[in-house]
């Protein structure tokens, strides 16, 4: 009997999300660089070895501007790993790759002036279809569920040592014993669970550990939301 085996060295692809700092340069570039230098003098090494993305949503910089800017930044030990909001024609070997799926804080979008749209149509905001992730089985210890495009619904329990991360809300029709991290970028997200035994709860970056939770909610059906900078909790039973 022969056993069928797969090739041992397969190439693995993963899609991952990372946090990066976005720099928004303004023309004239020379002045902006001078300001940056002054700033770096006060906080030397602030950008060193951090992932930096250039925010070009204002569409004020030309391709050659960006080309020389990335070199100037490199001299200051700032390495640009991608361009955001750039004209599609910037997609060229030699320039950092174009990034599209960045989550921007909502208030920053208001800064974009309408009149600088020099002929090039800005891509219409993509209307997101309802996109929730439904899990039929319990989430086991050590498992990591990430769904940044919408809600996560778990039919079953989330074990101690498991982690669920959602761009939207998290709904758990079972006991939540692990970590639930909702609303990556959305303060309106909520967490619902049938029975609260959680190790950690977070909404839009504000978190609460088991120690911070009121003991009266332990073991109960609970709803969690954000009120300003406070994580709020109420029993549903």
């Amino acid at each position: 009997m022969t056993a069928v085996t797969r090739p041992r060295h397969s190439i693995r692809f993963h899609s991952r999300s990372y946090h990066a700092m976005a720099l928004a340069p303004e023309p004239p570039v020379a002045n902006w660089l001078a300001e940056l230098d002054a700033w770096l003098e006060r906080s030397p090494g602030f950008f060193a070895s951090r992932p930096i993305v250039l925010d070009l949503f204002s569409r004020k910089l030309s391709k050659s501007d960006v080309e020389s800017l990335t070199k100037d930044l490199l001299e200051r030990k700032i390495q640009v790993l991608g361009l955001e909001g750039a004209d599609p024609s910037f997609a060229e070997f030699g320039l950092p790759p174009l990034l599209t799926s960045g989550v921007r804080p909502a208030n920053a979008i208001a800064d974009v002036p309408d009149d600088v749209n020099d002929g090039e149509p800005v891509a219409a905001p993509v209307v997101q279809r309802p996109n929730s992730l439904l899990l039929d089985s319990p989430v086991r210890s050590g498992q990591y569920i990430e769904h940044l495009q919408g809600d996560v619904i778990v039919i079953g329990s989330v074990a101690s040592g498991a982690e669920v991360i959602a761009g939207g809300s998290i709904h758990i029709y079972g006991t939540l014993r692990g970590r639930a991290i909702a609303g990556a970028g959305d303060p309106r997200a909520r967490i619902f669970c049938r029975k609260l035994e959680a190790e950690l709860l977070a909404i839009d970056g504000l978190y609460m550990t088991a120690d911070d939770m009121e003991p009266q909610f332990r073991g109960r059906s609970v709803r969690v939301w954000l009120d300003g900078n406070t994580v709020m909790m109420t029993a549903q039973d």
């Binding site: 009997m1 056993a3 085996t5 041992r8 089985s137 319990p138 086991r140 210890s141 050590g142 498992q143 079953g156 329990s157 074990a159 101690s160 040592g161 006991t175 014993r177």
Partner: protein, 271 residues
């Protein structure tokens, strides 16, 4: 149809090897052809628990690497004709196990035996993942305490993702074997109750093995508890679990050794 059964737990010291031996003996006593495979390369114990440590010549690694034939490495039990053991190597480590080699050995064993019981090492690394890789059924051995339960939960996640069966999109049968259970202590809240463990792990219960001195004694003399003609409480629990594995529906009980008056009066013998 041969079935490959993995006995696993994540956490060490919960009773994987003891349970492998006891269930193997129980299944073989029922007339099945059973082989026990020790995957704990480098820390082999199953040969001791089976009382076969003085008969090991070749081991799993020799067979995996093609240095010995399977028939040379298999040790037949002297007490039960239908029971065999494939020992692990004590001098090598888990890196000596290859994917292809293990697949070949399991395929060969499937032609000879009804039950292939793989005793997994503790942990979630190579040895443990290879032991579960080809399994059709899994027994998750758990003690009624929180760390063991969480590790078991982790292992269940791996059983549902890293095994061949899971990768083919099929359902892996998983059974919970709760060992070292003490009903009185659970009632006092000193250990988790059966319901608590079942609620967390949500897999079907195969058996509850009561805490007993008999188990340690059996391991030390190399005679699994189920071998005895007058079965003790843990032996009865293992025998029931083996019958459930064969598809019988039995009522779940926690066997106990009730001591009579004389047992209480003469409980221990003076040294």
């Amino acid at each position: 149809m041969a079935k490959v059964l993995v006995v696993t737990s994540g956490k060490g010291g919960v009773g994987k090897t003891t349970s492998t031996a006891a269930l193997g003996v129980a299944l073989a006593k029922g007339g099945k052809n059973v082989v026990l495979v020790d995957f704990d390369v480098g820390l082999r114990n199953l040969d001791l628990v089976m009382g076969a440590e003085r008969r090991v010549v070749y081991d799993l690694i020799n067979v995996v690497q093609g240095d010995a034939k399977l028939a040379q490495a298999l040790i037949r039990d002297k007490r039960i004709q239908t029971l065999s053991l494939l020992p692990a190597s004590q001098t090598r480590d888990k890196d000596a196990l290859t994917d292809e080699g293990v697949a070949r050995v399991i395929a060969e064993l499937k032609e000879k035996f009804d039950w292939i019981i793989c005793d997994s090492p503790a942990g979630i690394e190579r040895g443990a993942t290879l032991a579960m890789r080809h399994a059709d059924v899994a027994i998750v051995v758990t003690n009624p305490e929180v760390s063991s339960v969480r590790d078991s939960d982790r292992i269940i996640g791996l059983l549902d993702s890293k095994t061949e069966k899971a990768e083919r999109g099929e359902h892996m049968d998983k059974h919970l074997l709760l060992t070292r259970y003490d009903a009185a202590r659970a009632e006092r809240g000193e250990m988790l109750k059966v319901e608590d463990v079942l609620e967390i792990l949500s897999i079907p219960l195969l058996g509850i093995i009561p805490e007993s001195e008999e188990v340690l004694r059996a391991s030390n003399v190399g005679a699994p508890v189920t071998l005895s003609d007058t079965p003790s409480a843990p032996a009865r629990a293992y025998l029931d679990a083996a019958r459930r594995l064969n598809g019988e529906a039995l009522e779940m009980t926690v066997p106990s050794d009730r001591k009579g008056l004389f047992g209480k009066l003469f409980g221990r013998r003076a040294a």
